[in-house]
């Protein structure tokens, strides 16, 4: 099967999966006790039965379940995710406003974790009993053991209170004025700590995985062949061994992506990063159902896209993988 056919097939499955996610989300939230009418009435400071009935009528809550479901799914197909009564804004608009901040945080921390983790893993595998190898083992134990809300707070104490090098939170400083590069620098300055925090767990995971994968590959016969050909050590390591060792890394990175998205929620809260995580937390607390469902939909969408990209990357790395 050619690459384009595979991609087309994967996109088709991805769309079906998204519809499944929509139906599941909608059903789960519908069967939870209480509805929007109760929340709105609660915010109004209480309301009598006729007012609640009026609200129900306005939001279409009295119609049969399948009608409500159909209206929601067909709305999503037109990129209309409903209306947030809490923010008084269409949900799509609300999410598109916050999504870039989350994607920036998630992708920058993942790229950092993958690149640095792979590099550390390769260096560790080069000398399995050396100092880098020890560091990787230590780092992975620490990274796995330390929850992000704790390591994030430690970083704030260290680099905001004791050594005031980084801002405590937020994404930009409104008092900073200047051209594009000044703004970019300000953004990166704010991004640094949350990125490091979110990357730390995955740095631990990827460096350990890269070390194990490289150690396995370095024992392979084709590595001996590469050495016997007289290739310099760096070519043996970074070309012949690494390309074979990348497979498991890419697979795990793809599978972990949904966990990274949920990790981002916590990190955004700790660092007041104005992304989807903060929005999700606020809308859950406010029982803003359309927004919650919208966020779930968007994060599923991102995870599915990343999974398709993972498959394509794996196929490009290893010619033996044939999608069946």
């Amino acid at each position: 099967m050619s690459l384009t056919q595979t991609i087309a097939k994967r996109i088709g499955w991805g769309l079906l999966l998204l519809i499944g996610v929509l139906i599941l989300n909608f059903t789960l939230i519908s069967i939870a006790p209480g509805d929007i009418a109760d929340s709105i009435a609660g915010d109004m400071g209480g309301a009598d039965a006729t007012v609640i009935e009026e609200i129900r009528e306005r939001y279409g809550l009295n119609e049969p379940f399948y009608v409500q479901l159909w209206r929601y799914v067909s709305g999503v197909a037109r990129l209309d995710l409903g209306f947030s009564y809490f923010y008084n804004t269409p949900v799509t608009e609300l999410i598109l406003e916050k999504l870039p901040a989350t994607l920036l945080l998630v992708f920058s921390s993942q790229i950092l974790a993958i690149v640095l983790g792979t590099l550390l893993g390769v260096l560790a595998a080069k000398k399995p009993n050396g100092i880098v190898s020890l560091l990787v083992t230590f780092l992975s134990l620490f990274g796995f053991a330390a929850p992000v809300f704790w390591s994030g707070i430690l970083l704030i104490i260290a680099f905001v209170s004791i050594f005031p090098l980084f801002p405590v939170g937020g994404m930009t400083d409104v008092t900073v004025e200047g051209g594009f590069f000044v703004q970019l620098l300000d953004l990166l300055h704010h991004l640094f700590l949350p990125m490091i925090t979110l990357a730390s767990i995955y740095l631990a995971l990827y460096s350990r995985l890269a070390r194990a994968s490289m150690l396995e590959v370095l024992g392979a016969d084709y590595i001996r062949t590469a050495r016997a050909k007289g290739l310099p050590q760096r070519m043996v390591l970074y070309k012949h061994a690494l390309k074979n060792a990348l497979g498991p890394l890419v697979t795990v990175a793809g599978l972990q992506f949904s966990a990274v998205m949920s990790g981002a929620v916590v990190v955004e809260t700790v660092f007041s990063w104005p992304g989807l995580g903060t929005l999700a937390l606020q809308s859950i607390l406010a029982r803003d159902t359309p927004t919650i469902m919208g966020i779930l939909f968007f994060s599923s969408f991102v995870v599915i896209v990343v999974n398709i990209l993972t498959d394509i990357t794996l196929r490009m790395i290893d010619p033996r993988i044939k999608a069946s």
């Binding site: 001996r224 016997a228 007289g230 290739l231 070519m235 390309k243 074979n244 010619p319």
Partner: protein, 334 residues
């Protein structure tokens, strides 16, 4: 560099290689000496674990260190000493002056690069050739090892080729930079019998065309008889017999060599009434960590006597150019 007619291309002298293991020090090569003249084929035979492959890896400078270490001895190629060279110099020699092919063509090629790329790479590294020139050399080499449609096959990945094809690719790769010495470490062990013969024919043909000297490591006494000029028989890290193939095979002096020769099954066109049972050498190769003071082959030897238990026989001249390491050399049982 012109080769001195009297000086062998490859000369290994008193090579000792030790491995540190949990059970103690294992002497995997014990005073191994070999010579190979330009354009000749030297066969090395022996059971698994006797040190054949380790001899090859030592020549390539690829002894895994740790745990292995060349303790003493010298290896010289065309008069140039190879032991003690730094990694960078060794990298320049490997692949360009000495090529090597391995036992497992299935796993010896990198699965994620095309075979053309894997051949061309070595040309790029050693000859500073352009990518295009290196690739056309790769296609040329694939043609030389009789791969049909070489320009198409150059773009194939190893998993798209059969075992015999892959071994041809390995040979093409090893010879791409026209080395003066080729080490073939059991090149046919993993292949079908018919393909084995093809690979041996190919090696012989290429050897005659290019004049590359070959160290042929094998279990196959038939291949030795057909291809090699000289043969060295190894047992437990030592050479127990060596000399011209015709002499060693017709008048083997060491009981181990005699055993190896009688182990070869014969195809009998008309089955005789009483078929002879296939012979074997009883016992196992001893552990290298606790070799006694006597001959290592003594526990398995039919002719052993008291002296064999206490003293190691040295490799001494038996006939004109035939050397053997046995207290009771003879060729009486063939």
């Amino acid at each position: 560099m012109p080769t001195d007619a009297t000086q062998p291309l490859l000369s290994v002298k008193d090579l000792v290689v030790d491995f540190k293991t949990r059970a103690g020090n294992a002497r995997v090569l014990d005073h191994v000496s070999l010579e190979l003249s330009a354009g000749k084929i030297l066969g090395i035979v022996g059971e698994s674990g006797c040190g054949k492959s380790m001899t090859a890896l030592s020549i390539m400078g690829l002894v895994p260190n740790p745990p292995g270490k060349i303790t003493s001895g010298s290896i010289s190629l065309d008069g140039k000493e190879l032991t003690g060279l730094d990694e960078e110099t060794l990298c320049d020699i490997r692949g360009s002056e000495i090529g090597m092919i391995f036992q497992e063509p299935m796993t010896s090629l990198n699965p994620v690069f095309t075979v053309g790329e894997q051949i061309a790479e070595s040309v790029r590294v050693h000859e500073n050739a352009s990518a295009q020139a290196a690739m056309s050399r790769a296609v040329e080499m694939l043609k030389a090892v009789d791969i049909p449609e070489p320009d198409i096959r150059a773009r194939a990945y190893p998993h798209q080729l059969s075992g015999g094809m892959r071994q041809r690719v390995m040979i093409a790769m090893a010879l791409a930079c026209r080395p003066r010495l080729l080490i073939a470490d059991e090149p046919t062990t993993a292949l079908d019998a018919t393909v084995q013969a093809q690979i041996f024919d190919l090696l012989q043909e290429l050897q005659q065309e290019t004049g590359t000297a070959i160290v042929l490591i094998t279990h196959d006494m038939g291949a030795i008889a057909e291809l090699a000029d000289d043969v060295a028989v190894m047992y437990a890290g030592r050479i127990v017999e060596k000399g011209p193939v015709s002499d060693v095979l017709s008048r083997p002096c060491h009981p181990y060599t005699q055993g190896l020769i009688t182990c070869v099954p014969h195809l009998v066109p008309d089955p005789p009434l009483q078929r002879e049972a296939l012979r074997e050498i009883p016992g196992m190769v001893p552990a290298l960590t606790n070799l006694g003071s006597g001959c290592a082959f003594e526990p398995r030897c039919e002719k052993a006597f008291a002296k064999c238990k206490t003293a190691k026989p040295e490799l001494i001249q038996i006939a004109d150019s035939q050397l053997g390491a046995c207290w009771a050399p003879g060729s009486d049982n063939t």
